[in-house]
Symmetry: C2
């Protein structure tokens, strides 16, 4: 950052009267037992004084490592995504890794493109929250033996690496709680999606209802991603018409909850207050809704830590380990 030309190894070498090799060794802490302490100290002093910063390109070209990992998010606009990002970022920092963040905004082609871009940029590994229909892309990635790990979303019956939440349990326990609160007509607003975590969330809801002998007929409403706003309103309308005694709604993602609450406000359903709201995933904005919202909270810190640890060890040890872990969160009852 100094105004003068960029300092490079050569400059330090000249100033300290040694070869560039020695400078490199000292600055990277190699062969230290072989190098005279005075020389090493002198080199370090000069490097510091000249404010040396290694050229990332040259270093990367030679070592084939970037000390960077790529994080592919499904949708950066989602509060869930920024939470994950924050955790991954701080976790990676402790390993001296940097993060490249990308968001697919739930678009398949953007997903493919991001993997390309990141690999071209020579990231050392990838943490991926996959988009719908991205299985083929991930299969390809998997087969190249490139270090990666899926988070949040995954595909069943594969040998992919993943760390995910127990999605079945999330809605199962949330629904159980509603039932415990004496709710009998529970609507479930979820996404129209073949993403496995969404399928699992649906299964959890249905199972809990079945066990309590509560009807699920017409109770599950699936929202098209491309018509979010409109569909949420339409489907809640439908629920209310089919069941005038509707007494609870479970939303399967925080974004759905957002639009659901907006509907409730618009129709002033928040005032009568006889429809209990329950959500999957935490979000700050729940606090400004006029009645309390309970939710299922994923253990994000745990997931983030495990993902990063796995990835780093995979990168450094180049082993053939596979990780497939499902972690369990908890209900937060308001």
């Amino acid at each position: 950052m100094s105004k003068t030309k960029k300092i490079q190894l050569k400059d330090i070498a000249e100033e300290a009267n040694v070869s560039t090799a020695l400078v490199s060794y000292v600055l990277n802490g190699r062969h230290l037992n072989r190098i005279k302490k005075e020389t090493a100290d002198r080199i370090k002093e000069v490097a510091k004084r000249l404010n040396y910063r290694p050229n990332h390109f040259a270093k990367g070209l030679k070592t084939q490592k970037s000390n960077t990992i790529g994080l592919i998010l499904a949708d950066l606009d989602n509060p869930f995504s920024t939470q994950i990002t924050r955790i991954i970022e701080s976790e990676l920092l402790s390993y001296k890794y940097n993060v490249l963040i990308g968001s697919t905004y739930e678009k398949e082609d953007k997903f493919k493109e991001l993997i390309e871009v990141f690999i071209n940029r020579q990231v050392d590994g990838l943490i991926i929250l996959p988009t719908e229909n991205s299985k083929i892309e991930i299969e390809r990635l998997h087969s190249t033996n490139f270090p990666y790990v899926l988070m949040d979303r995954y595909f069943p019956n594969t040998s992919f690496n993943y760390i995910v939440n127990d999605n079945y349990f999330s809605t199962y326990s949330a629904t159980k709680q509603l039932i415990k609160n004496n709710r009998k007509k529970i609507g479930f607003i979820t996404l129209q999606s073949n993403l496995f975590h969404i399928i699992e969330r649906k299964r959890g809801f249905i199972k809990a209802c079945k066990e309590a002998e509560i009807t699920t007929e017409n109770m599950v409403k699936e929202i098209r991603l491309a018509h979010f706003d409109e569909d949420v309103a339409k489907e809640i309308d439908a629920l209310r018409q089919e069941y005038t005694d509707l007494d609870a709604i479970l939303f399967s993602t925080d974004r759905l909850t957002m639009y659901g609450l907006k509907y409730m406000i618009q129709h002033q359903l928040n005032i009568t207050n006889n429809i209990e709201i329950m959500a999957v995933d935490e979000a700050k904005f729940y606090d400004i809704y006029s009645s309390p919202i309970s939710y299922y909270k994923q253990p994000l810190e745990e997931m983030g830590q495990k993902a990063v640890q796995f990835l780093i060890s995979k990168i450094n040890e180049n082993n053939s380990d596979i990780i497939q872990e499902t972690v369990t969160g908890e209900l937060v009852i308001k």
Copy 2:
């Protein structure tokens, strides 16, 4: 991404029976008038067939360009930040640039670190939403002639490059609107900060009140960043005690609005509904508050586009242009 070894220029050259130079020329579209069309076509075909991806390090080392710019956000958790990010990202994409995203979470030392990291990573330029007390860092950056532009926040009486919103006008017009709505006791919740855009917002509020001969005494409440939740509650409490006829609150950022609304809900002030809420900056969550919230909307697209355009031309033409632009947003009345 193929399972076999990485394809490089040399491989294409061999396969196509030409030198690597020619391959490079063709793939980069140089000297095209000099190169036989058949040869060029053959090279392109081979490159495509072998799925060639240039090595980013080698390319960068030689060209001293990364085609990447760094985006330094003040706080990624802020909805405002993800909006900006989305706009910058898509705008840069059209110039074939990638974005490195970083968030300082409003910490000075993190800010300094991020600039270091990004410059070490050889980004070609920086878009910066600066943190408090970062003026010295930016001065240093500015003096190196490194391409950068500030957004959203800036420092007065400098020759820094910036594109910002008219912050004075934002609160001035918002306050005017409240007055027009017949509000007489207006509280202003803002940040305790020496960031110029915050100072300007305060000035705008006070000016509008003065013009309407409305008291501002004890009406401006400043929240400490480190005690957000607690301070917001405390200060609104104070306002209500000092003025039992408090009839409006203007929040100077979306995050403040978030906590303010939370307070309103907790104290059920949303029900009586006689305190009008007005905000600076747009946010989706306004929709789930039980009464409509008007707000001042910054022209983010315009700002993002201008910032990117300036930066790109600065990078490519290495000129000595300076940009200092203030753009004006509008009130969105609900």
